[in-house]
């Protein structure tokens, strides 16, 4: 039976309460009558033989690129780059799709007698991955064959000796990327396209870039003009990356792009109810919901966090394409939308969303308040094509505990950003002008980024820029159940319940607002007809 598409439910008297994420917990919430609830499509079927599909993709390239086997020869320099810990979410159960693809590429390289092979995690300014994380992404066989010999690297955007300046785009944007990757005879990039934003020229132009290069598109102006960054033609973020990517190609870097889509089978058997429609819950779903929600509520939240961070998703490979960057990406984006797109007609006054425990930047870590804002207003708000589900001047209501907690090893500059920047300003442009450079060039943050497992000093700014479009679009942001002082520090309004939040929203949207609730995860993209 083919999976059912996503759809929009209108809440009536017979609608059961809706499952709502609240950080490391979830609950059932009765939504107001008339609320539109957007449900994701059901997960598509997995490929029956992913290994064969990968091999076929490598030998049947898209666009103006040769088959991989034709690009490999014995005395060449080969670099394989791959997406980092931020993808997929939650981390997928072994074997990870990166492992499957890289093993296939390495098999071909071995057949061709290629000796000079290096793997590089394309971190951009993200934290370095730990050995267990790398082993999980690549598999033990690949890890043990490369890491002990210094052939498994993590991109270092602050290592001037290993960066190569490519040039300027016709918009004056500096392009500087990983030297080993740029100077290789062939650069193979292995993507996991979890959402439509991922992949394309963004893979190399962002994942392997330096701060000098990234700052041209990771800034408030670009983010405000990305409406949304899930929709490349309407995204200035993507336009900049495309300009950079084309310059990289023109400079002679030969890229063999491999992109993959996963289905949205997000939660393992014990948590399957989280991706089912509530009225279809069977007895087992009800019992596991009751047990899990009570256990998570009762557990100290650190324990609850550890339990949930331990979830390995049954995501399965759905499609894979390889070859020339733009041709590959065009096919993949269409397939991502096919899996995740939901047609939504018109906008509402309010959008509500329950925020889960995980986002791209807190895998095996803590969801700090800046990441809460980024997940809700950066990712979920921007999960649209056409127009946001909420009207201009509307209200976003988020559900999350928003505790003032930080991982000191992963997010050191976030703590200072929270304590020193947010009390001064929540305006992305002001903080960009007054504070960004000091954080970006701080030697301690750079040291921690290069030698520890810390996000780059500038990263919290990027997370805040990520919400620029939402901040400009919305009149008010309310967080239900959040720590009040922390929520206020973010510039938002705290509320204790949904009713309380609707009361707070009343002076903006009136007493009878229209509401859309995004029932995610699983991931969905709203295809909005304004």
């Amino acid at each position: 039976m083919s999976p059912r598409p996503g759809f929009v439910l209108e809440v009536d008297r017979s609608t059961p309460p809706t499952l709502l994420w609240h950080g490391e917990a979830f609950k059932l919430q009765k939504l107001p009558l008339g609320t539109r609830v957007v449900y994701a499509p059901e997960p598509f079927a997995a490929l029956e033989d992913p290994e064969s599909a990968i091999r076929a993709a490598l030998e049947n390239p898209e666009g103006d690129q040769k088959p991989l086997s034709a690009l490999l020869h014995a005395d060449m320099k080969l670099t394989i780059c791959f997406d980092d810990i931020s993808l997929p979410l939650p981390p997928m159960a072994a074997p990870d799709v990166r492992q499957m693809v890289i093993e296939a590429v390495l098999d071909q390289a071995a057949e061709a007698g290629v000796d000079d092979v290096v793997l590089i995690a394309a971190l951009a300014l993200h934290r370095r991955m730990t050995e267990p994380e790398l082993r999980h992404a690549l598999g033990n066989r690949v890890y043990d064959a490369f890491a002990p010999f210094g052939k498994l690297l993590q991109h270092d955007a602050e290592d001037p000796d290993n960066l190569l300046y490519i040039g300027k785009t016709d918009h004056g944007e500096d392009v500087e990327i990983n030297k080993r990757a740029a100077e290789s005879d062939l650069l193979v990039y292995v993507n996991i396209n979890l959402v439509s934003m991922d992949g394309g020229h963004k893979s190399v132009a962002t994942g392997l870039a330096s701060y000098k290069s990234l700052r041209h598109h990771h800034n408030p102006k670009t983010m405000r003009h990305s409406k949304s960054f899930m929709d490349a033609p309407a995204s200035e973020l993507h336009s900049a990356n495309w300009r950079m990517g084309r310059l990289i190609k023109e400079s002679g870097v030969n890229i063999f792009q491999i992109e993959t889509t996963l289905n949205t089978d997000t939660f393992p058997e014990n948590f399957k109810f989280l991706q089912k429609r509530e009225w279809e819950w069977n007895l087992r779903d009800r019992i596991t919901f009751a047990g899990a929600s009570k256990a998570l509520d009762a557990a100290p939240h650190k324990m609850a966090r550890n339990i949930l961070q331990g979830i390995k998703s049954p995501h399965a490979l759905r499609t894979v394409h390889a070859g020339e960057v733009e041709a590959v990406h065009q096919k993949i984006v269409a397939e991502v939308w096919e899996q995740q797109g939901v047609a939504v007609e018109g906008q509402t006054d309010i959008v509500t969303m329950g925020l889960p425990y995980i986002c791209p930047y807190n895998v095996n870590s803590i969801m700090n308040p800046i990441l809460v804002a980024c997940l809700g207003l950066g990712y979920f708000f921007n999960s649209y094509r056409g127009a946001p589900v909420v009207r201009k001047g509307g209200v976003a209501i988020l559900f999350h505990p928003t505790r003032p907690e930080f991982h000191p090893g992963h997010h050191p500059s976030y703590i200072d950003f929270f304590e020193q920047v947010l009390p001064e300003t929540t305006d992305p442009t002001v903080m960009h002008e007054q504070f960004e450079e000091a954080y970006a060039t701080d030697p301690w943050y750079i040291h921690l980024y290069r030698t520890g497992h810390a996000y780059h000093g500038v990263h919290p700014f990027y997370m805040w820029y990520w919400i620029s479009h939402a901040l400009e679009h919305l009149d008010k942001v309310i967080i239900v159940g959040g720590d009040p002082a922390t929520v206020r520090r973010l510039g938002f309004h705290p509320a204790t319940t949904l009713d309380d939040a609707l009361e707070i929203a009343k002076d903006t949207v009136g007493p009878s607002p229209t509401i859309t609730h995004l029932h995610t995860p699983p991931l969905l993209m709203a295809d909005v007809t304004p």
């Binding site: 000191p408 200072d416 304590e419 020193q420 000091a438 954080y439 301690w444 040291h447 921690l448």
Partner: protein, 422 residues
């Protein structure tokens, strides 16, 4: 006259010390301080004049004394019983002369520079007094008056916590300009301390300066740095970073010219970012030791923990200026040794030197109190009979949004004035 006095009664000191464990200033009811009727102090001799206090402040060292927490070091530098109160604006009861030898007529308002140096004791000037550095006087227990490092700790002079009169020597008297309110004037003595402390720090325009604690002295140091810059006496450092525990303190610190004002527990983070310092070890949630740090740290608290924090904040080769009155403290001095940190005391006042200009700290403080309108730091006035409330208020100044609490001896009981710092 009615006066508050402190007597040497060990049981009362012990009771006060015990009571103060429940909060600063709690020793006022049980301790050595009591309200009494007594004879006014006799005239100690030539060049001493009777003055009547208008306002007299309550400072941290007063609270320590009332709570029985003062260092035993001071035991021989005071004489009992004494009337506390060394932050005094008063009115002359007779004609006299001031510290510069200028005439003062009866009724003139004066502030008292309280150190009882050689001149006040009728002694030949010691080298420090000769140089104008009266705070470093070597004869604080000698001469024709009894021991007492300052007015307010000496049995023979009286102090400001009385309905007057008290005695002040010519060398202690500074006329209050007409333009200064009584509130401005009562801030002169603590601001003189802050000015002197600020100048003990060897910052320059490239420096980052940290201020630990934002009570009267911490705020005073911030104001002093700004004042010295605005009067072209000494350029301000590149950044002044302040740890202030309470919101009112944070607001005032910004008003007085601090660049970065953060809650006290965030000071190390703020100094680290301001100096782009590295950190010793990896961040694990505990308070880090900075590898670099501030060039000058003003410790305006004076406790073991504030000194330990200052050592975490200060750069190698830097300087810690102890502004708050310390006592016995157990602190790991390994970083002081390994990082060649200079620990500098900053007590009272004297003469300050700016190139060709030499000025008495008190004259500078009078100028500063006026130009910076420091009377706005005075939060509440109490009559002396409500001393327990006043001391409790001063002890809880931070959490109650206050900075300086003063006695107004002539004030009627029912007319206590209270408000936030303006």
């Amino acid at each position: 006259m009615r006066a508050l006095i402190i007597e040497r009664k060990l049981t009362r000191f012990a009771a006060a010390r015990l009571a103060s464990t429940f909060g600063t200033g709690r020793g006022a009811g049980l301790g050595p301080l009591r309200l009494t009727d007594r004879e006014a102090p006799r005239d100690p001799g030539a060049n001493w004049y009777g003055v009547t206090p208008l306002l007299s402040g309550i400072c941290g060292s007063d609270l320590a004394t009332v709570d029985g927490r003062s260092s035993q070091y001071f035991e021989h530098l005071v004489s009992f019983p004494f009337i506390p109160g060394h932050e005094v604006v008063a009115v002359m009861n007779e004609d006299g002369v001031d510290a510069h030898g200028r005439p003062l007529t009866k009724g003139t308002r004066v502030v008292i520079q309280p150190v009882l140096g050689c001149a006040a004791r009728g002694l030949p000037l010691c080298p420090a007094c000769e140089a104008g550095d009266v705070g470093r006087c070597q004869h604080l227990t000698a001469g024709h008056i009894r021991a007492g490092l300052q007015t307010g700790y000496c049995a023979d002079t009286g102090g400001g916590w009385c309905e007057g009169p008290m005695q002040a020597h010519a060398s202690q008297l500074y006329e209050v300009p007409e333009t200064l309110s009584n509130d401005d004037a009562v801030m002169v003595e603590p601001m003189a301390c802050a000015l002197h402390a600020a100048l003990r720090g060897s910052y320059d325009q490239a420096s980052v300066v940290a201020v630990v604690g934002a009570g009267t002295l911490g705020l005073g140091v911030i104001a002093a740095i700004n004042f010295l810059d605005s009067t072209n006496r000494r350029p301000r450092p590149r950044r002044v970073v302040v740890g202030a525990r309470y919101l009112a303190q944070q607001r005032i610190a910004r008003l007085l010219g601090a660049n970065d004002v953060v809650p006290g527990d965030q000071l190390i983070r703020a100094v680290r970012t301001a100096t782009h310092s590295m950190v010793v070890g990896r961040p694990n949630g505990s308070t880090p030791q900075l590898a670099g740090g501030a060039d000058v740290v003003y410790d305006c608290v004076g406790s073991a923990s504030s000194l330990a924090e200052s050592l975490q904040l200060v750069a190698p080769g830097g300087q810690i200026v102890m502004v708050g009155m310390p006592g016995k403290a157990s602190v790991d001095l390994a970083p002081l040794w390994q990082r060649e940190v200079e620990l500098v005391g900053a007590y009272a006042y004297g003469s300050e030197h700016f190139g060709e200009e030499t000025a008495a700290t008190f004259d500078l403080a009078i100028e500063m109190a006026g130009t910076m309108e420091l009377g706005r730091l005075v939060t509440a006035h109490y009559p002396i009979e409500r001393f327990e409330e006043a001391i409790a208020h001063a002890g809880m100044a931070g959490p109650r949004g206050a900075v300086k609490i003063v006695f107004e001896p002539g004030r009627k009981k029912a007319s206590t004035q209270e408000g936030g710092p303006r």
